[in-house]
Amino acid sequence: MEYKKYEREPYNIYTIKTDKFNSCRMEIILRHKFDKKNVAVDNFLTDFLAFTSLNYPKRRDVVLKLEELYGASFYSNRERIGEMILNNFMVDFLAPNFCDEENYLEEVIKLPFLMLLNPNFKDQEADINSFKIIMNRLKAEVLYKAEDPVYQCVKEAIKKSFHDKPVVESRIGSIEDLNDITPHMVYEYYQKFIKECVCDVYIIGNLDMDKVVNIIDKYLTLDTIKDDNFNLFITNEITNKINTYEVNGEFTQANLAVVGVIDNIDDVYAFRVFNSLVGGVGLSSKLDQALREKNSLCYSVSLRSTRTDGMFFVHCGIEQSNYKKAVSLIKNVFKEMKNGNFTDEELDNAKSSLLSSNKMGEDSIVQLLNNYLMHQLLNEDLLRDRYSKIRNVTRDDVKNISKKFHLKTIYLLKSGDNNGDN
């Protein structure tokens, strides 16, 4: 596997050449500073640019083109790391050696640039048909969230915990935010967006990378140099008080979220081992053992820790009458970890699981490319360089990391009146 960086003034191209896969993947990443007031329009634009362009005005036109390219796929997403937003445009496509057409590679590489750099604007407004379709879809996404008790519970618990921090903002924005967006606003936002974003292109596959880079240079006609300086790690205040909320809900099952602050993490490998040990996949984690296996309180319990947001949460769906017991068991898991009450076997299993998932990542085109991106942005090690560092994590390292987890909020979304406790 050959990693290479091609530096250009307005953008950089990062390539991984490998013959391990039949498919290839290219990601065009436009990065900018998180701004609370632009969340909705920024997300809208990300959707709009993957949906329509002057070259392919209707989504149907894009899909027909993708079919021709052996079922290639082109889509976008938007994510946040700390106070940086990444607007990602991805193309997954078949390696050219499986295709008959001579110009296949250029056709597939140029497609996302044609979409991104020729947005479907007329008279300084976003194309109204596409605008309406995307608007309806995004509003529906917001409304669908109301149907999801897990999302409702975790979102409210995080809101209560972190108030005005970026983690509180939803990816799409609210219905009111969406109502404020106009076709002209999308046009205006794009003008600023395309000038001010930092642009990177990442590509992996069995490709002649010099040839690929030439094609990118031909179609990626950006001409500005950008300031690449973002705050990627958010810190949160640590308090000794744990706030408890019990809120009425409408669902059959009660949902419990326990949210907390993670203090500055300096040992990323001990942090990962801690997460694997406490809330890893399978049923062997501390939380699964305590809540599901030993007490049958839930079907599943999950732990999500985000180093860059300095926060974590635990979630499970439970019978409401078991609420206090579940909270007590969750608190106890964190307490036991701080006291070093975990066995060598549990530590070894957590490390084995991490080593295994690292190796799995090396078989995944998506994870390899994402890892290269995180290597550049967060200085994370490449997957291939992580093995000995995982193995070297000690009991004391994990014990020390566990002291950085501070519970802050307990949030219960109660079950509805007519069902619940039986």
Partner: protein
């Protein structure tokens, strides 16, 4: 061992049958680290009435036993569970139950031999105490309630209830809260003793390994299972094309945008000259061109702001074919009317067929990047078609415009069920 060439894809599969009768499919991927192994039992949620051996009387078990048994299986006789043992190997085990089969799987990248031994050991072994039964019952009840709070899952099963009169697909796979409470230890023991036998199982292993060594190991491990082959007779269920309800509204919690499902129940015998695998491709092309991302009809409904989303599904269940068009809309009744009109006027442009088949073939080729994809492909073929399709290329090549139109002409729209998911009335 038989070597099966996957036509035009430069891939080889290996096939053999264990001494005790269990078929095994292997695919070797020399480029990767990972392996994926599935041990599959042809025992699904629909198998609730059966006879085994020379039994005269039908055994009837409650709904949800196949799923309950799947949960029980992870507990092992030495007081540990299979999850703990796989954790030591750094692997990810899991299991799931469908209408038609139960799958036990493990995903990992080191010590394949130990993983396979463990997989076979815990699936073929059986250990159940009263205490374990109640522990799993508690967990399953929470799982069922989780499903009750999921509108999509609720809508799916409610749709099935309106479509199927006799077929057990009308019941939830895990059962209801009441079903789960009714399940007894004896039901689970009976189900295990009936369905968990080599001739009712198959194994698929995909990854980087020596196929001959792996096959020898599987055979050796299966030989340790002291089991006598028994004949299983499932009570046959006749399902005619009449739907149970032509129109029904069901209610979910916090439904802001209604959903609809228009399902046509069609006699499979109308298409006798086609195999199921051919019919699936033809119907995919027909419904894709008329209701999918490239259809003008869908585009128009989106632009007129009549729908939020629209998709389709094809399901061949024994003697009936189900063609379903589903979506979400603020005006579901108006949209359903338009869908019904469109179904009377289906068409496919000839030029589209080649492009769609090119796309489908591209998807197969890049599926070979993923041990899980390949494993699932073999698994679903065995379950759906009772055979491994190694020549999908020829299957695609034989798809033609004339037959597309012949099939469109034969679609019988008489039996239709329309289900709406609306917000729960307060």
């Amino acid at each position: 061992m038989e070597i099966i060439n996957f036509n035009k894809a430069d891939e080889e599969f290996f096939y053999d049958v264990c001494d005790n009768g269990m078929p095994v499919y292997l695919w070797v991927n020399n480029k990767g680290n990972n392996f994926y192994a599935t041990l599959n039992v042809k025992f699904g949620s629909v198998d609730t009435e059966f006879k085994v051996g020379n039994e005269k009387k039908w055994t009837v078990i409650p709904n949800g036993v196949a799923h309950f048994l799947e949960h029980i299986k992870f507990n092992m006789e030495d007081g540990t569970n299979a999850f703990d043992k796989f954790a030591k190997l750094g692997s990810n085990p899991n299991a799931f139950t469908t209408f038609d089969f139960t799958c036990y799987e493990v995903f990992g990248n080191s010590d394949l031999e130990e993983n396979l031994k463990l997989l076979i050991d815990y699936v073929t072994g059986f250990y159940l105490t009263d205490e374990l039964l109640e522990k799993e019952r508690g967990i399953i009840l929470e799982e069922v309630k989780m499903g009750e709070d999921n509108n999509n899952s609720k809508f799916y099963f409610e749709s099935n209830k309106a479509i199927f009169k006799n077929n057990k697909r009308k019941y939830e796979i895990a059962g209801t809260v009441n079903d789960v409470k009714k399940i007894k230890k004896d039901d689970i023991i009976k189900a295990f003793n009936t369905f968990y036998q080599p001739n009712n199982m198959f194994m698929v292993v995909t990854g980087n390994f020596n196929p001959y060594q792996v096959m020898a190991l599987i055979n050796e491990e299966m030989n340790k299972w002291n089991i006598k082959e028994k004949k299983i007779v499932r009570k046959s269920v006749k399902e005619d094309c009449k739907v149970v309800l032509e129109e029904k509204e069901v209610y979910g919690k916090c439904v802001e945008i209604p959903k609809f499902n228009v399902s046509y129940k069609i006699d499979r015998n109308l298409f006798k000259e086609y195999k199921n695998e051919e019919l699936n491709i033809y119907f995919s092309i027909i419904l894709g061109c008329n209701f999918g991302a490239t259809s003008l009809f869908k585009e128009e409904l989106l632009e007129r702001e009549l729908i939020i989303g629209l998709n389709y599904n094809i399901n061949i269940v024994n003697d009936v074919i189900l063609l379903s068009i589903k979506g979400s809309s603020k005006y579901p009744k108006e949209v359903v009317k338009l869908i019904k009109d469109k179904m009377q006027d289906l068409s496919v442009e000839e030029s589209r067929i080649k492009a769609i088949l090119k796309m489908l073939w591209g998807n197969i080729i890049w599926g070979f990047d993923d041990v899980e994809y390949v494993n699932s492909m073999v698994q679903s073929q065995i379950v759906s078609y009772n055979k491994f399709l190694n020549d999908i290329y020829s299957l695609y090549k034989n798809i033609n415009y004339k037959d597309v139109n012949a099939i469109i002409d034969k679609i019988d729209l008489t039996n239709c069920s329309v289900i709406y998911l609306m917000n729960e009335k307060k």
